[in-house]
């Protein structure tokens, strides 16, 4: 049983998804999805434990040896992210029970949970697999199901947002398979481990260079790097709250993982830094992304959009960590990946709770809610502080490591810009806080009560995780450091 954990991780949600269709009772479907996700979470706990004690796990699917069969390869990096994705998914599903019931018409609950589990399958599959083409397949599973989830949003703009995402997402995924195809053409293998060994012989060829180019553009579309982020704000703003919380916390992070995996484990850091001026490109785009998205966030009227733009800015920080190109920089990226997932899931779930009570996420509808929904609003404040990077929150930890990595590399002007960008975050977070606490209500709030416990518990669980990992950084920093070391080929 334990030997089969890598495949169980993916198979459990994959089988759970069609089973959702057979359970016709909407109420039960939610609980079933929660159960499936919790099972996936337990498996990922087991995997992380195994990896930490015994090292990398290699699992051959169907018993076919690696270059012919598909292998799953779990190391420190992906076991840590598997834990994150399945954990966040489980917590979000707890809140989903009430939120989905209120937001979506009853006949759509089944489809929502089916696509949710399929999306989870896709994301876990991308993380677990050790095969370059398999990544594409899982990428499309998760992408297609997220288009469906977004289109289930009640506003009609959800449809156009989903359509736009579909077009851009498909272009991104197609670029990725072109890249994979060009690599296969030169090496005759799709296994990541094999690719890494065979690629150095053909590093000089133009084919590999163009494979790398296609690949980078494709993945950057998926992870919404500025200026390829256009699909993200609308998709997050109009999707059902639960879908937003899940996608914002996991899907772009998994795309960042693909980027890291290909850059370090397949192409190798030497090729990446010498063939293209990638560090400079990432540095410039990361910085522009941080500033452009943070400034746009200030001008949004929908709270979901504010935090969607802030997500683009946070992606900028992760890319900045990669641009440094050192082990410290990579550690900062991995830390921020984990920490940002915690912040954004807490924030979007809190906004989901607001939508649950007042049926809107427009910022002016939040006016005066500070007194009516004190716990939910306090969670938004805590999440906001974490976004800014106030000490004792996870945001501080990741910004600290990023700034240290920048200074270590001698890029102090960039470090100053990063600190300055936090001030912009203060502005957009403050704007939300001002509406919540210091503005008289714009709508009648007499009947508004605090969010139900089934939503408050997951929200506060995530907020407390934000605070806990902001103080006790042993797990997050420890695993990030180990993963960065192994990616740089330094055995600890």
């Amino acid at each position: 049983m334990i030997a089969h954990y890598p495949i169980l991780q993916v198979i459990i949600p994959l089988l759970g998804a069609p089973l959702c269709l057979f359970i016709r009772i909407p109420r039960l479907v939610g609980l079933f999805a929660l159960l499936v996700s919790a099972a996936a979470f337990l498996v990922s706990c087991g995997l992380l434990q195994q990896v930490l004690s015994h090292g990398t796990i290699v699992y051959e699917i169907g018993g076919w040896a690696a270059p012919w069969g598909i292998e799953y390869r779990i190391d420190q990096l992906n076991s840590y992210l598997l834990l994150l994705v399945s954990g966040i998914s489980t917590v979000v599903l707890v809140a989903a029970q009430t939120s989905v019931k209120k937001e979506l018409p009853e006949n759509r609950h089944i489809y929502f949970y089916t696509s949710y589990l399929l999306c989870l399958t896709g994301l876990l599959g991308i993380l677990a697999t050790g095969d370059a083409f398999n990544v594409f397949v899982f990428l499309e599973i998760s992408a297609l199901s997220s288009y469906t989830m977004i289109a289930l949003g009640t506003d009609r703009r959800a449809l156009t947002a989903s359509y736009q995402y579909l077009v851009m997402g498909t272009i991104g995924a197609t670029f990725i398979i072109i890249g994979v195809g060009l690599m296969y053409m030169m090496t005759g293998t799709l296994n990541m481990h094999d690719l890494a060994q065979r690629l150095p012989e053909v590093y000089k060829s133009k084919t590999i260079l163009s494979a790398f180019g296609f690949f980078i553009v494709g993945v950057c579309l998926k992870l919404a790097l500025f200026p390829l982020h256009l699909w993200l704000p609308n998709a997050y703003a109009f999707a059902p709250s639960i879908a937003t919380a899940f996608l914002a916390a996991t899907s772009t992070k998994v795309a960042v993982y693909i980027l890291i995996r290909y850059m370090f484990s397949i192409f190798g850091i030497e090729f990446v830094t010498t063939s293209l001026p990638l560090n400079d490109i990432f540095l410039v785009l990361g910085l522009i992304g941080i500033f452009a998205a943070s400034v746009s966030a200030i001008y949004q009227r929908n709270v979901k959009r504010i935090f969607a733009y802030s997500s683009i800015a946070q992606i900028g920080y992760m890319i900045l960590g990669l641009a440094i190109g050192t082990q410290l920089g990579l550690t900062a990226t991995l830390l921020h990946l984990f920490n940002h997932a915690l912040m954004k899931s807490a924030l979007f779930l809190a906004i989901g709770a607001v939508t649950y009570r007042i049926g809107s996420s427009q910022i002016y509808h939040l006016a005066g809610l500070g007194r009516k929904m004190p716990f939910t609003m306090a969670a938004i404040v805590a999440g906001g502080l974490s976004l800014i990077g106030v000490p004792l929150t996870v945001g501080f930890v990741s910004k600290w490591y990023l700034v240290v990595a920048l200074l270590d590399n001698g890029w102090w002007p960039v470090a100053v810009l990063v600190l300055f960008s936090s001030l912009i975050a203060v502005i957009y977070v403050w704007r939300v806080i001002e509406w919540i606490y210091f503005t008289p209500p714009r709508i009648i709030l007499d009947d508004i009560k605090e969010a139900p416990l089934s939503q408050l518990i997951p929200i506060w669980f995530l907020v407390l995780a934000n605070l806990y990992f902001g103080v006790d950084t042993r797990l997050t920093v420890g695993v990030s450091k180990m993963a960065a070391q192994s990616l740089f080929g330094v055995t600890p």
């Binding site: 083409f133 594409f136 397949v137 499309e140 297609l144 288009y147 469906t148 289109a151 009609r156 703009r157 449809l159 156009t160 989903s162 359509y163 579909l166 077009v167 498909t170 272009i171 995924a173 197609t174 398979i177 072109i178 195809g181 296969y184 053409m185 005759g188 799709l190 001008y299 009227r301 427009q362 002016y364 509808h365 714009r442």
Partner: protein
């Protein structure tokens, strides 16, 4: 390198550019999906021509043949075709829903309606208050 001998790759590039251009340039949502399909199809051609080895046969062992070509790219492309169908189907069903919701599948008309929605929503919320001048400026964009 024989430029004409690589004609299949030229076709791939041509199809890719045609598809990509349609996706970017056309306003009609169905036409965009057609472009997207052409774009994906070019990749299928690319994989299939990559799998061809001159003078080789499928890997069914026989004494007459020395050279075998790997059928893996074809298998991969079967998967990619399935993914492509799913994408197109989902895209088309979204277009149907968009047509039902907006009464149009032209991008510009949908945008006009969206802006209109936003404007009404904001007028209702803010009223002609101090925020209103800022609002107007934003909306005329």
């Amino acid at each position: 390198m024989n430029i004409i001998g690589l004609y299949n790759y030229w076709i791939v590039v041509l199809l890719m550019m045609i598809g990509f251009y349609i996706v970017i340039a056309h306003e009609n949502l169905i036409k965009k999906l057609v472009g997207l399909t052409i774009f994906q199809t070019s990749v299928f051609f690319f994989y299939i021509s990559m799998g061809k080895i001159n003078g080789a046969t499928p890997p069914i062992l026989d004494e007459k043949w020395q050279l075998y070509s790997n059928p893996l790219p074809h298998v991969l492309i079967l998967t990619a075709i399935v993914v492509g169908i799913a994408t197109t189907a989902l895209g088309l069903s979204l277009v149907v829903r968009i047509q039902e919701a907006y009464g149009s599948i032209e991008e510009s008309e949908i945008q006009v309606q969206d802006t209109h929605d936003q404007l009404e929503c904001q007028l209702e919320a803010y009223g002609p208050g101090p925020d209103f001048t800022i609002l107007n400026k934003d909306l005329t964009k």
